[in-house]
Amino acid sequence: MTDIKKPFSRRKLLKSMVALPIMASGIAGSKSLFAKPATSEINTTGLAVTDDTVQVGILHSLTGTMAISETGSVEAETLAIEQINEMGGILGRKIEIITEDGASDWPTFAQRARKLLREDKVASIMGCWTSASRKAVLPVLERENGLLYYPTFYEGLEQSPNVIYTGQEATQQVLASLNWLYNEKGVRSFYLVGSDYIWPRTTMKIARIHIEQHLDGASVVGEDYAPLGHTSFGSMINRIRLRRPDAIYGAVVGGSNVAFFRQLVSAGLDGSNQTLLNLATTEDEVLGIGGENVEGFYSSMKYFQSLDNENNQEFVRAFKARWGEDSVIGDVTQAAYLGPWLWKEAVERAGSFDVEKVTAHSPGIELNQAPEGYVKVHDNHHLWSKTRIGQWRRDGQADVVWESDLIEPDPFPEGYQ
């Protein structure tokens, strides 16, 4: 187990010192915690590791459409790495960041990943956001034997030995929230809406199967997709009104999100008279949509900025201190923050930076002090995590109204494909 410690918290520092002897005996391969292992021992594959440093890549879109979403991830990964460095780095090596810009363009992602792995020889990459960028990088990772920590909640149906998925896969997000709507809100008729690309389509396929086969008496009364970037939802909203669903179940993303909610509310469907749960609305999006337009609606995520626990308060404080008081932290931002910590733990368990050893030691890693609470790496490289339902407030934060038990990740759900 590892603790995510804040450098300046005296109480935590004391706790960790108490833990030191136990950890020292627990970590295989490290002769002593205070003598650094020789570089030749911990790096047999020619990675960019010296006696004092280790290089890590951050690969996100800093420009282009996706920069809106990916900026938070870059900030979270940078923060985590800085905190790890303040604690002395990994195996006595300070982490150096090489930032590359994927520019919202999938071939560019692949090319930048190749550069990071071939020329820079980075020990791991924190990066990618959309499924399309991950799919573009995947063959490069597998050929060059790189390691990627991927932060976004996504559609599942993938499991690569070279990727650790720190966000939720579809079933974790979807099944729990559907059950909640069915049991707690008494929803019997669902209207599915989404943006038109792989993630919403796959997600809604799972949702439809679950509603029709596993929720007794529930039905899907409509299913609609809008092109990415669509901004006129008048007709879609009328279609929805005509069917009068108990709940609208949405996977509308990006700029469309804003137009969708605003038009829904100005058409007289708001949190007071319509149950709506959108999967892709995080604090980041609400900033653009405006709290008054999502007030009373729901989202299903593993993390909300308002989560009331000590780890999260500490995380939010550190994040704001580093990136400004006005920053908001969404689900993916928090998942991105886990990447460097999971990697640190895996490297220390393996006693090596070699990718094969790190991935071999990854399953079973537990983080007790993640902002979202306890998480554990599954054999399938995804995380065990809890799913929460948040109800949006006018100020752009969510009240967590329900929390699941720890859910096992299941990227290839049987009976749902």
Partner: protein, 306 residues
């Protein structure tokens, strides 16, 4: 599921309004381009970015107004729209002076240059306003809906955009077809040499026409903050629809643009109601392509002499 007569009436009314609302959005987007592309034959790929410029101006005004007190946040939009026009107008003028005027006889180069300009403006927005999307607070009198009957909800922001579109369209039509300046613009487009010979300063006509088109785009941007959010790359979402309307209508005539926006909007929103958004878009595009194959000049033939 069975519906009562009243349900169907209500849906028909709201659906009709959805079509009209989409029509005014399309028309507002396309007007500026109709002026620039229609009158000057300049393909302005940065048109969407001029809209975004107007939207960010609105955002800035709303941020400043928030510091002044509650009355300011209610009515800032009335000041923001003229300012959005002004900022896009002045920036358009500057761009004409620095770039466009050197490229008048090279349409393909204009295409490339304005596309480059679009990329530069996007990165400029990103550097100044950040990568996240922003949206100004909607004044409370523009929120919510009007209910003539308990079953019909007509969005107020939709009506506001419709009213604005009517005003801007009438303004543009008056300028182009009823004012002295419009006469000079049209004569310059008909024959540049002759116009110059009778004493029209054609350089200024070009500059003002381009700036006017950009200014109208700025107004569109300001209006769209009521229905959608603004990010550095929002302009790329608008540009395709905008060109579609102008090209389909037949470049060179404002009435063509109005008719084309109306047909596309009504067609698409009716299809959307029956087929869903994605299929509606596909079908609309196919129909437009088919019509353009038969009528390459668009619905209304241009009266510009080549």
């Amino acid at each position: 599921m069975d519906y009562s007569m009243q349900d169907l009436m209500a849906i028909t009314a709201m659906q009709g309004f959805a079509g009209l609302s989409f029509f005014s959005v399309l028309l507002l987007m396309a007007l500026g381009l109709a002026i620039i592309f229609g009158q000057m034959r300049v393909i302005n790929m940065a048109h969407g970015e001029f809209m975004v410029l107007g939207a960010y101006t609105t955002y800035m005004v709303s941020t400043l107004a928030a510091g002044l007190g509650p009355w300011a946040t209610e009515y800032y939009i009335l000041l923001a729209i003229p300012l959005a026009f002004l900022s896009a107008f002045l920036f358009g003028m500057l761009i004409e002076l620095l770039m466009i005027r050197h490229l008048y006889h090279r349409p393909l180069d204009t295409l490339l240059a304005t596309w480059g300009l679009a990329l530069i403006m996007q990165q400029g927005f990103r550097s100044i306003f950040g990568a996240r999307e922003v949206s100004p607070n909607t004044p409370s009198w523009l929120e919510g809906s009007w209910r003539p009957t308990p079953m019909i909800d007509i969005p107020i922001n939709g009506m506001a955009i419709m009213a604005l579109t009517v005003i801007v369209t009438l303004g543009v039509v008056w300028l182009m077809y009823r004012s002295r300046w419009g006469l000079r613009v049209r004569s310059t487009m008909a024959s540049r040499e002759m116009s110059a010979a009778v004493g029209i300063n054609t350089r200024w006509v070009d500059r003002l026409t381009f700036a006017l088109g950009c200014g109208v785009a700025g107004i569109a941007g300001a209006a769209f903050t009521m229905i959608s959010s603004t990010g550095p790359t929002s302009g790329t979402l608008y540009i395709v629809d905008t060109f579609l309307v102008v090209v389909f209508g037949g470049a060179g005539s404002i009435s063509g643009t109005v008719v084309s926006a109306f047909l596309i909007a009504q067609g698409q929103s009716i299809l959307e109601f029956f087929l869903g958004s994605s299929m509606a878009k596909v079908t609309t595009l196919l129909v437009i392509i088919a019509i353009l194959m038969m009528r390459p000049e668009g619905l209304f033939k241009s009266k510009v002499r080549r």
